[in-house]
């Protein structure tokens, strides 16, 4: 113990803040707190980014290839499935493989985002119980983590495109607003599923099975054009298909139809609405549930 005074003056002052909690059953008051939560989460985007990045780093800490394992395993899967299914469906590998690589990577993003959304708040239990943080921060962290995984997998798509020389051209720009829609939907998904799953622990397995069924009944590994007649008319009612298609079609060099966009936007609006209602209602109880 040489000189306590050396440490006596902490150099950094925390910004003074105000915390006022008044149980107020009015909807407006709860909505106000939920809005504050969202703003707070967005203001802490750098923290969300770092947390998401640390998640990936931790998963691969000590491994030689690190996050490149993500790329490698996706690459192998795309190669194997592509060869198999192009034989099964009697399709030209040159046509099919770019489609499959893109579909699998994008679907992988969607399905891991949804399953992470279920554990969004439970996983952050330690943080939630030790410091007051906006709950939306944990949702943003899940999105960052999944976007980073997607970033690693994009390499596979690029390689396949380069090998088959199938670049999508200028239509690809249409994928940008579609990806923005995905981020918004992802946030809604985390807030909704995260809250519901924190309360009801039986929901995650149900969500898991729904995603698995959706994978097979939606045109992910098979092309939507393969569906003929009346069945094809139902396609726009499949939110998994239309949400996938708004990003996938532009990246394959085609503009998605208005029906697809309308459906994707409609289902997104429903999802966001449901997420907002649920979040406004249960936000104050989440700390007790995790």
């Amino acid at each position: 113990m040489n000189a306590p005074h050396t440490f006596a003056a902490p150099p950094l002052e925390a910004v003074p803040s105000e915390l006022l909690l008044q149980p107020d059953p009015s909807h407006a008051a709860r909505q106000g707190l939920a809005v504050l939560d969202l703003q707070g989460g967005l203001r802490l985007w750098r923290l969300a980014w770092t947390l998401g990045w640390f998640d990936i780093r931790l998963r691969y800490r000590g491994s030689v290839l690190g996050p490149l394992w993500l790329t490698l395993s996706t690459g192998v899967m795309v190669g194997a499935l592509g060869t198999l299914y192009s034989t099964l469906f009697r399709m030209d590998l040159h046509e099919y493989l770019p489609f499959l690589a893109l579909s699998l990577v994008l679907w992988g993003f969607l399905s891991s985002l949804v399953s992470d959304a279920c554990s969004c708040f439970q996983q952050a239990e330690g943080m939630i119980r030790s410091v007051r943080l906006p709950f939306s921060l944990h949702a943003l962290r899940v999105i960052v983590r999944n976007v980073l995984v997607l970033g690693h997998n994009v390499v596979v798509i690029a390689v396949v495109y380069a090998v088959f020389d199938r670049w999508p051209g200028v239509h690809a720009l249409l994928a940008v607003p579609a990806l923005a829609l995905w981020i918004v939907d992802g946030l809604a998904c985390c807030l909704l599923l995260g809250a519901v799953c924190a309360r009801f622990r039986d929901i995650p397995p149900i969500v898991g099975s729904v995603m698995q069924i959706a994978f097979f009944i939606s045109p992910v590994i098979w092309r939507p054009e393969m569906l003929q007649g009346a069945a094809a008319a139902w396609l726009p009612w499949n939110p998994f298909f239309t949400l996938l298609e708004v990003v996938r079609a532009p990246l394959l060099g085609a503009a998605p139809g208005w029906g697809v966009w309308a459906s994707a936007l409609g289902f997104s609006a429903l999802l966001c609405g449901a997420a907002w209602i649920a979040f406004v209602r249960v936000r104050s109880r989440l700390a007790f549930w995790v």
């Binding site: 002052e13 925390a14 909690l21 059953p25 330690g126 119980r129 009801f200 039986d202 249960v282």
Partner: protein
């Protein structure tokens, strides 16, 4: 200028995961009935409810150092978490002016898989700091916590003393106006305690608020200017340290940790906790249900039935 105002605050926990969170457990619970015993009660929706804080009110201003005493489960940690804004009260009002620093558990938001340096960076980001400020924070914490070469090892390899030092250094490096502290920090060694004291005293001198909870009367007496004795989530006494500690140590509630556990609705609070705890909002999350008179009686025969069934099956 830091203040804490807390008025008539109730906090209650619905304990879902212990009993009926999952469908499967609900089914199992039907079979086991009230075999769990009388401490926890189920409400009409088969939820177990614990009243953790009941009608807690006090006001703190600049320079106050509040000590919280009480047995295990008296509500000390819940009160600290409520003051930190983590648990939002079901009933009552809480206003805290000033940046809050909370040392509630040794890991306090630290990820044990991440290195000390990474945890420090996260804390800096949480406080909205830019890169140069985070570097300063890192240096300060590193010096204070004497981590040296351990800075780049995951926190789970740290000794418990190192974790405490890191946690304390982090919570006080970014100087809060209101410091909420659970007793774990006493795990530090003597040399560290001297350092911690110097830092804390400086903080409190700077007209800030300290709220400290402990089982240990000596610690409370040394650190506090005011003491609140909690038992069963209620304030039993509030006043000068000597007076309250005298009551606490000599009163009927003594007998060491474990006395007076959490106030369980139905155990000794059915009547008074009832009417106030209403409407936290919405189906499935409104305030914890209240004990139904006769629930015990109703559950009895069920248990009997189940065990008879079991016997028959056997």
């Amino acid at each position: 200028m830091a203040t804490i105002q807390i008025e008539g605050v109730h906090v209650s926990f619905p304990i879902y995961h212990a009993t009926s969170r999952s469908l499967k457990r609900t089914v199992l619970a039907a079979a086991s009935g009230a075999a769990r015993g009388g401490r926890l009660q189920e409400d009409s929706k088969h939820r177990v409810v614990v009243q953790a804080l009941r009608d807690v009110s006090f006001t703190l201003g600049n320079g106050d150092r509040l000590g919280l005493v009480g047995g295990n489960g008296a509500g000390k940690t819940t009160l600290l978490r409520t003051l930190a804004g983590i648990y939002e009260p079901v009933v009552g009002r809480l206003q805290v002016s000033g940046a809050i620093g909370a040392l509630l558990d040794p890991n306090l938001g630290m990820n044990p898989e991440l290195t000390g340096r990474e945890n420090i960076a996260l804390r800096g980001l949480y406080n909205g700091m830019a890169r140069p400020a985070i570097r300063r924070l890192e240096e300060d914490v590193q010096d204070f916590a004497e981590l040296a070469e351990f800075m780049d090892l995951p926190v789970r390899f740290y000794s418990s003393g190192m974790v405490v030092r890191l946690g304390f250094a982090l919570a006080t490096a970014i100087r809060p106006q209101v410091l909420l502290m659970d007793e774990w920090f006493l795990a530090g060694d003597a040399a560290f305690m001297d350092k911690a004291r110097a830092r804390l005293e400086d903080m409190v001198r700077g007209a800030d608020i300290l709220v400290l909870s402990s089982h240990n009367a000596a610690v409370i007496e040394e650190w506090s200017t005011r003491v609140i004795w909690l038992e069963g989530g209620r304030i039993m006494a509030d006043g000068a340290p000597a007076d309250v500690l005298h009551q606490y140590l000599g009163g009927p509630g003594v007998g060491g940790p474990g006395v007076g556990g959490p106030g369980v609705v139905g155990e000794h609070a059915a009547g008074d906790a009832g009417p106030e705890v209403t409407d936290a909002g919405g189906p499935g999350l409104e305030a914890p249900g209240l004990e139904r008179p006769g629930l015990d009686g109703a559950a009895g025969p069920e248990t009997g039935g189940a065990s008879v069934g079991g016997t028959a099956a056997a």
